[in-house]
């Protein structure tokens, strides 16, 4: 049974049909990529899945439960975490504190216990810190734990955001252009990292522009164009799909020729 099922999803912004009758499923344990030219509706699709936007019609099911219409925090609590295309870290907080927010739903200290600083909240806090330091270590940014997150270099901020998303121990990880703004070496590194995360049993759905990265790591690909799904297949088949070449790769060739 599919982990995530998207069924005839629609989203309109005024007169613009950003997502139109999109349906696909994500099987557990795989890396699936959503590609498409700019304005194809990829980020809108992510916002619909994560609950930041309600769909105009259609349903999204996660582990067989309808999650469309729920608030983002409710969707997060069901096991979906995300990163953002233009990085959203909390200013004024250290890298470690940012990642610790990712542990929010795994811990339970509330207002009363927090004010009283009870022994069990102290233990819980220490565990959260320990776990998050481990994640920073895995992403090789442990030395930046106490640095204010928004003052870090771009690539490091991406890593902090990824650590924050992983701290939730999600079943499904939504990555919105994880390689945007990174150079070719950093991109390759991100690719290895995503495969490593996936090998630990986390299903990954990613939106990405970098074709080599997508073809390298994903098991299945969905292609969007003007809000519609025009193909869904294995990477090799997608590369040979004439329609995809026409709307997507063809466009790039034209750009290359101009450049």
């Amino acid at each position: 049974m599919a982990l995530l099922e998207i069924n005839q999803l629609n989203r309109r912004f005024g007169g613009l049909q950003a997502i139109s009758e999109v349906s696909f499923a994500v099987e557990p344990g795989i890396i699936k990529a959503v590609i498409g030219p700019n304005g194809a509706g990829k980020t809108t699709l992510f916002n619909l899945i994560a609950g930041s936007l309600p769909p105009s019609s259609g349903t999204i099911r996660f582990r067989n439960e309808v999650i469309s219409g729920l608030q983002p925090f409710q969707i997060a609590r069901r096991g979906i975490s995300r990163t953002y295309q233009n990085i959203k870290l909390y200013p004024g907080m250290t890298a470690l504190e940012n990642v610790m927010i990712g542990r929010h739903i795994q811990s339970r200290t509330g207002f009363i216990a927090g004010m009283l600083h009870l022994p069990w909240t102290r233990r819980e806090e220490a565990q959260v810190r320990e776990h998050c330091l481990g994640l920073l270590e895995m992403l090789e940014i442990a030395d930046l734990a106490e640095v204010e997150a928004t003052s870090l270099a771009f690539g490091q901020q991406r890593a902090v955001e990824l650590a924050r998303a992983l701290a939730m121990e999600p079943q499904l990880l939504l990555l919105d252009e994880p390689a945007a703004g990174l150079n070719i070496y950093e991109t390759a590194e991100v690719g290895r990292l995503i495969s490593k995360i996936n090998s630990q049993g986390i299903t990954v759905l990613l939106v990405e522009h970098d074709m080599s990265l997508v073809m390298d790591i994903s098991h299945e690909i969905v292609v969007l164009s003007f809000g519609r799904k025009i193909a869904e297949d294995l990477p090799l088949q997608i590369q040979q799909n004439p329609e995809v070449i026409k709307i997507y790769l063809g466009e790039e060739e034209k750009e290359d020729a101009q450049g």
Binding site: A76, I101, T109
Partner: protein, 355 residues
């Protein structure tokens, strides 16, 4: 650890100040310091809402007034004429009433301050919940305007309602017997003990709030302040956190109202005024927004100066001016290192590196 030492320093300062007033023969300062202490309860609560959760409230004098006025009204309303009424008789049997004699020797039977305070605080919780649920969906100046509206309503209510004394307010409020032998009241004889009661409450409140901001909850609040949608996406129920913080601060404002009213034996409509709310916001801003210690220190200093009459008839104008100056020159607050560094750069003639 990181909260213990400053709290001990605060405790030492409180004791030292009291000793100083004794040595220098100026114990009358303790009266304004006690009052400033109660205002500080409200101010650090507001600091939590504004500085940490990032929500503005221009209506906190309203919650102070709910605490003060309800407590004053319930403990002064003479129930002697209704003594035979079932409810009054029941309250009497439960020990909820307190009999006493007023200035002229007339007998008064009114609600005991403990149940009165309980009613006042509960009302503050209910009202802050009812106001908070719709209003906290708003952001920025929309939220400011909505809370301002709430403040105006409370002000006009106490000013226009006969049981709240209209323009005269309520006077002859009895002392609040906290524990055996300890009573919150303005008697000269208990000036020192009242100073310690007020500051004991401030120290406890500071300890609780400092613990809170260093906990999972404080971290979530700061995340909401920084990037609300990203906090929500990480599983933080942002609406609930904002509401709970708002209610907590309303309770602290109401507590301040209850105790200050018993201490000064009365309350007037100016305490519910919008200018009073503006003053609280100005103090939190001067203190550095996300800085409980800054808010506490500036709250005590400015309230003490104001209560000693140092600003004369320009009292409100001074706080208005402070707010303008803060927003223009130091929106991060006066007690912020960034500003200190800037001043240092100015003095040493260096260019501002942060710009």
């Amino acid at each position: 650890m990181r909260t213990c030492l400053p709290i001990l320093l605060l405790l030492a300062t409180v004791v030292l100040v009291q000793q100083l007033t004794q040595w220098t023969g100026t114990p009358f300062y303790l009266t304004q310091l006690t009052m400033a202490g109660y205002y500080s309860l409200l101010i650090i609560g507001l600091c939590l809402v504004m500085g940490y959760a990032g929500q503005i409230s221009l209506g906190h004098a309203g919650f102070f007034a709910i605490g003060g006025y309800l407590s004053a009204m319930l403990t002064t309303r003479n129930l002697l004429a209704y003594q035979d009424h079932q409810l009054v008789a029941l309250a009497d049997r439960l020990g909820l009433l307190m009999g006493r004699h007023d200035f002229f020797g007339n007998e008064i039977l009114a609600l005991h301050p403990w149940p009165a305070a309980l009613v006042a605080i509960t009302t503050a919780i209910v009202v802050s919940f009812l106001i908070g649920v719709p209003v906290l969906k708003l952001k920025g100046h929309y939220l400011a305007m909505a809370t301002l509206g709430f403040g105006i309503i409370i002000y006009r209510l106490v000013l226009g309602t006969p049981i709240f004394g209209e323009a005269d307010g309520i006077s002859e409020v009895p002392g609040f017997p906290l524990l055996a032998g300890l009573s919150v009241s303005g008697d000269f004889g208990s000036r020192v003990s009242n100073y310690y009661i007020a500051w004991g409450m401030v120290i406890i409140a500071m300890l609780l709030l400092l613990n809170l901001i260093n906990s999972r909850v404080g971290r979530a609040l700061r995340a909401i302040h920084g990037a609300e949608d990203a906090a929500n996406a990480m599983g933080v129920d942002t609406a609930r956190y904002k509401l709970r913080t708002f209610i907590l601060s309303a309770v602290m404002a109401a507590l301040a109202g209850v105790f200050l009213t018993h201490y000064s034996a009365g309350i007037g409509p100016s305490e519910a005024g919008v200018m009073q709310s503006v003053r609280y916001v100005a103090i939190v801003a001067v203190g550095g927004m996300a800085n409980l210690w800054g808010a506490l220190i500036m709250g005590v200093v400015l309230n003490f100066m104001s209560l000693r009459g140092m600003f004369g008839s320009y009292d409100d104008a001074v706080f208005g001016a402070i707010l303008i100056a803060m927003m223009l020159f130091a929106p991060q607050g006066l007690l912020r290192l960034a500003l200190l560094a800037r001043i240092k750069n100015l003095l040493t003639g260096k260019k501002d590196g942060a710009a």
